[in-house]
């Protein structure tokens, strides 16, 4: 079966002990589209994003990648079992960028970007280095490949982390509050990089607190509340004319929401 949806999530549940964080999520991410997850802290945004590449294992429900459900059914409650091999292959096709960058501190920027290419894609050292250099140039860091993460600013580190994910030629990119740990003056450079990716046709799932940015970049905004999708629509509907009371309250609570200039 072919599909234009890179990711299809259905009936997804996730519990940590007795606490159910996600209570049945259905969501598709169409190819080339950008979906932004909004919601108060604790609403389950990051957990949902981490379930897409199985850094968190869903308690129940399915995630399908390019039309193919991941894992095999187990038991009767919608549980599935996942093989390590299958998840590794999946993660190689899904890029993820973290709030804290999580660059490997003992490797240079270039080595950070080469590691996955070498170990997972089996690229030669020359090939991986060439790709890493090209990606660094694309995010405005040409010639900084030899720098260790501790010698780069937060914004530069995050752009290297984006390169590390892109080097795997992913079908979809996940951004988990990618600018939340940055000083305000460094946020713009990372947002611009993400915007450029969208213009190149990358499929993206983004968790962010930058509402102005969300408004500009999203094809679809998903508002999560208490582990469920509360409202979902294009950004001008959800963000300017919210239907639900909780969405309205959330937008009011972010009264500093304004449309930034990204160019």
């Amino acid at each position: 079966m072919t599909t234009d949806n890179v990711i299809e999530i259905s009936g997804l549940r996730k519990s940590f002990g007795a606490h159910e964080v996600l209570k049945g999520i259905d969501l598709v991410i169409p190819k080339g589209k950008t979906v932004v997850l909004l919601g108060a802290s604790g609403s389950g945004k990051s957990t949902l994003l981490r379930c897409v590449n199985f850094l968190e294992t869903p308690t129940a429900g399915t995630v399908a990648f390019n039309g193919k459900p991941v894992g095999t059914p187990k038991g009767t409650g919608g549980e599935r079992s996942y093989s390590d091999r299958e998840l590794r292959a999946l993660r190689a096709h899904i890029g993820i960028v973290f709030q804290q960058f999580n660059l490997f501190p003992h490797m240079t920027a270039l080595e950070n970007i080469m590691e996955g290419q070498r170990a997972v894609l089996g690229r030669s050292r020359e090939e991986a280095a060439a790709r890493a250099e090209a990606l660094l140039a694309r995010v405005g860091l040409a010639g900084r490949g030899g720098a260790y993460p501790s010698h780069l600013s937060g914004g530069q580190q995050q752009r290297v982390a984006i390169c590390r994910a892109l080097a795997m030629d992913p079908d979809v990119m996940l951004f988990d509050e990618a600018t939340s740990a940055l000083d305000p003056e460094l946020v713009g450079e990372v947002l611009r990089t993400m915007k450029a990716l969208r213009e190149d046709g990358m499929t993206m799932l983004i968790v962010t607190h930058e509402l102005g940015f969300a408004y500009h970049i999203a094809d679809e905004v998903v508002f999560l509340s208490e582990g469920r999708i509360y409202e979902q629509a294009p950004p001008h509907e959800v963000m300017l004319h919210p239907k639900g009371e909780r969405t309205r309250q959330f937008m009011l609570g972010h009264s500093e929401f304004r449309l930034p200039h990204l160019d």
């Binding site: 850094l55 390590d84 890029g95 993820i96 490997f104 501190p105 590691e115």
Partner: protein, 226 residues
Amino acid sequence: MHYQWDFSVIGDNAGLLLWGLGNTLLLTLIAILIGTPLGLAVALMRLSSRRWLVWPATVYVEVFRAAPALVQLYWLYFALPRLTGLRLGGFEAAAIALSILSSAFLSEVFRGGIASIGKGQWDAARGIGLSYPRMLRTIILPQAIRRMLPVFLERYIELLKTSTIAATVSFGDLLFVAQDISYRTYRTLEIFSAIAVMFFLVILLCSQLTRLVEHRLARSGEFTAR
């Protein structure tokens, strides 16, 4: 005090003392070379999510950490032949006992080092699809070992000192050679003063090396995990 110090005995037996020192260093080196990878393997077993790997490793560590080194050595040297008919030489018995002992201690150092690496590093490594052995080898262990380097060197120095138990099973290490010379010459004070200085110098060298490495690691910000 009418003791007449006579250090000529040291010069007369210099070759023998150096031979003993060589044996001590060799024994320690072998225990390090076997005990370190074995300690890593035990640490990985204890960190595993599979319980059938965790509990034998836990028992191993607890047993061999609790038993005094000399007891382990005597068991291997005197008790094992009675049980199995397998007779080990002094060197073999000491090398095995010290390897096992150091692996039990070092596994805890490895375990602490690996556990100290933040979740973000594991997430990032899994996020690009690395296999578990690969992420250990290129991401986790290089950082863990750098962080634990001073502790490793301290353990190795401790092992060097503990290796003197080999003298009790007639292995010709520095202590054994010293005893041998002092029985022949009655120059116990001179001999044991000399080997105390030899140990002191070797260990001073090691600890200076440790300090140098620590200093260099502290200066280079590269390895500061965040």
